[in-house]
């Protein structure tokens, strides 16, 4: 690997499709969710720069670390989360069949990277020495356990179908082939983003801000930014896995088409958020291990049976 390769990789990581691109798109998408929610609720909604202003304001403010908190864990958690999402963007294809940086087994790494933000929230919440943080963290654990099963199973369906663990060979227009897995993955994406009806860990009318209760300033800003980037990363992943293609060959057009599809996914997320109250954690667990699991399992078996030759 020579200097040029490293330079390209750094550019991929920091600018496109990594940090800068994801952050800008994520904040725009987040504004879209907020604006749509507001319109559904007969409110005016925020101006387009609101999410940027929020994050910039938070990033320029001082962070207070609680006296009793585990200082290292408390500070490290948001940074880990941000790093994981940035890295994950290298493995998620944007407007193409292959990601910026692919290797054999990258889909496993991708799933792990996308789990890290949840783990970071758990660590951050439980290290903050606040009862609301602890309860929020325990709810996040419950929710993560609930949705990971459906998420992994629906991604695995495509892996079994493509007989490959490469992101590159898994992406495609798989929706018509495995609609149930797509629905399952979509529900899991909503849960992973912690959007109503699955905003259980940070249920503000119940437990203040849950894991984020003690976070302030820069650290909170990093968490918010991570959350926005995760919105773009997950909607990109969903589009790439189930709605990718057909590609025109012109990269710019393909990326734009991809973004339009992502926007549609975000619109559906906003509709779901507007139409539902928040579930309780036990109800969410039952929902994911029952309904979502069955959805994902049906398509998984449909993919598995031809492979096994039953």
């Amino acid at each position: 690997m020579d200097v040029a390769d490293i330079g390209v990789m750094l550019l991929n990581l920091l600018v496109y499709p990594g940090f800068v691109f994801t952050a800008v798109m994520g904040l725009l998408f987040f504004w879209l969710v907020r604006k749509l929610l507001a319109r559904f609720q007969w409110r005016v909604g925020p101006p387009i720069y609101q999410t940027f202003a929020d994050v910039i304001k938070l990033l320029s403010k001082e962070s207070v670390v609680p006296e009793n908190a585990n200082r290292f864990m408390f500070v490290a958690a948001p940074v880990f989360a941000l790093a994981a999402v940035t890295l994950a963007m290298l493995l998620i294809p944007v407007g193409a069949k292959n990601p910026a940086f692919g290797f054999i087994g990258d889909i496993i790494v991708l799933i792990y990277l996308l789990t890290i933000p949840s783990v970071a929230i758990i660590i951050g919440g439980s290290s903050s020495a606040n009862p609301f943080g602890a309860i929020g963290a325990s709810r996040e654990i419950g929710l993560t356990i609930a949705y990971e099963l459906g998420l992994v199973l629906s991604v695995l369906t495509l892996c079994v179908d493509a007989n490959s663990l490469l992101v590159e060979s898994v992406t495609g227009f798989n929706f018509l082939k495995y609609p149930l897995a797509a629905v399952a993955l979509f529900i899991c994406v909503v849960a992973k983003l912690g959007i109503t009806p699955f905003d259980i860990p940070e249920a503000k009318t119940e437990i203040m801000a849950g894991p984020y209760t003690e976070y302030s300033g820069r650290l909170l800003g990093i968490f918010k930014l991570t959350h926005a980037m995760l919105l773009f990363a997950l909607s990109s992943l969903f589009v790439s896995l189930f709605f990718a293609g057909p590609f025109t060959g012109n990269y710019v057009v393909d990326v734009l088409v991809h973004l339009v599809k992502c926007v549609l996914v975000v619109v559906v997320i906003a509709v779901v958020a507007a139409a539902n109250p928040r579930l309780r954690i036990d109800q969410a667990l039952r929902f994911f291990w029952g309904f979502v699991f069955v959805l994902a399992l049906i398509d998984f078996m449909r993919a598995l049976i031809p492979v096994l030759g039953w």
């Binding site: 559904f40 409110r43 009862p131 602890a134 309860i135 119940e206 539902n276």
Partner: protein, 391 residues
């Protein structure tokens, strides 16, 4: 690691619009004990009222609570009329009824919005508050104010409901009725909302009776009590209405009771506008003889009682207020036990607590209450301080 954690809800908490403290002792997510502390909102209104003239007090008690800003003046003027032996004209009684029912509609809609917000159903929250807005417009047109209407007066009411108001009220009531019916369907048919409300925070009929609950909290648990039926005041004995009662005792039952009360209120308002005779809106009130009087009315939260003692001067000797939330708050203990933290805010909200009404009551036995609510830490601190002093 202790087995129990204490989760404070309040004194400042996003789910509570007023400062109160509920200390939940939790095991995991399950509530095993509750410590309710009130008194953050004490303003000494009863004492203040003893240094004001009878006319001024009407406006003072109006400021006890922002949401039921009509019910306290109504109770107060009824108590004062009972002492002075004044009969308000019939038109005034009808106007009092209409204002009271409009207040019930806007209060219940406000509650439903907050309840929806608490279970994370922000869309319903915004929609319900949009339905509520025209009701406030009626107040603005009729009374000149969206809140604190200043309509009540010893001997009658201060402003008349004019013909153009009648048309406006009828039109808005029709819209509100249609919107409320669709909201009822929305709440009852949404599976997630049902899952969050059904079987949660059950208050049994025995407990409801034991804790002396009033209003929709009692009626949701099968107790058929309503001051409008049991102690008819204003024009409630002249109109026909039902008292919705549910037997389940859970949050859903209390919600349904309130929603059906909105429909009943709309029907009462229509009847009252129809039956209202023309004539004076107030009888003259000249002087207050010595004596005692009680005024009661059904607030949106339950029965409100004002007791007034006059010694013949222009200021009362004693003015005692018992707001409905004061009766309902202790019943939160059996309602919260063994439910989850996630359910706690909606359970607390389900009695529609009005803390600013309640707190002005607790001062009556503040000395007893204070010694009872000292926590272990505070006791340790007191004992240590004593030791230091002795050294």
């Amino acid at each position: 690691m202790p087995r129990f954690a204490t989760v404070p809800i309040g004194p400042y908490h996003p789910a509570l619009k007023e400062p109160e403290l509920f200390k939940l002792k939790v095991e995991g997510e399950t509530v095993v004990d509750v410590d309710i502390r009130i008194g953050y909102n004490h303003r000494g209104i009863e004492k203040l009222s003893e240094s004001m003239t009878y006319h001024q007090i009407t406006f003072l008690v109006e400021r006890i609570c922002g949401i039921c800003s009509n019910i306290h003046p109504l109770c107060y003027v009824q108590a004062a009329e009972a002492i002075a032996g004044i009969e308000p004209p019939e038109r005034a009684l009808y106007i009092r009824t209409i204002i009271e029912e409009l207040e019930r509609i806007h209060s219940h809609l406000l509650w439903l919005g907050i309840g929806a917000h608490i279970i994370g159903f922000d869309t319903l929250f915004m929609w319900v508050w949009k339905i509520r807005e025209p009701v406030l417009d009626i107040f603005e047109a009729v009374c000149g104010n969206r809140q604190t209407y200043a309509m009540m007066k010893i001997g009658g009411v201060r402003r008349d409901i004019k013909e153009e108001h009648t048309q406006m009220i009828l039109k808005i009531m029709d819209e509100t009725e249609r919107a409320t019916r669709s909201v009822i369907n929305m709440v009852l048919e949404d599976p997630v909302a049902r899952a969050r409300l059904e079987g949660v925070g059950v208050l049994t009929k025995e407990d409801a009776r034991k804790y002396c609950t009033v209003g929709p909290t009692a009626r949701g648990s099968g107790l058929n009590i309503d001051a409008r039926k049991d102690h008819p005041h204003a024009a409630y004995d002249l109109v026909d209405f039902k008292v919705p009662v549910m037997t389940e005792g859970d949050v859903l039952a209390k919600t349904v009771v309130r929603l059906e009360e909105i429909l009943e209120s709309i029907s009462i308002i229509k009847q009252a506008l129809d039956a209202m005779p023309s004539g004076d809106i107030a009888t003259e009130f000249k002087e207050m003889p010595p004596g005692e009087g009680v005024g009661m009315a059904e607030a949106p939260r339950g029965e409100d009682i004002h007791y007034l003692k006059s010694n013949g001067t222009n200021m009362p000797e004693r003015h005692k207020i018992r707001a409905p939330s004061y009766m309902n708050i202790p019943s939160l203990k059996p309602q919260l036990m063994n439910y989850e933290i996630a359910d706690a805010p909606i359970i607390i909200a389900s009695i529609d607590p009005c803390f600013s009404c309640t707190d002005r009551i607790t001062v009556v036995d503040a000395r007893d209450g204070k010694s009872k609510t000292l926590s272990w830490d505070e006791l340790v601190y007191l004992s240590r301080r004593k030791t230091r002093r002795l050294k």
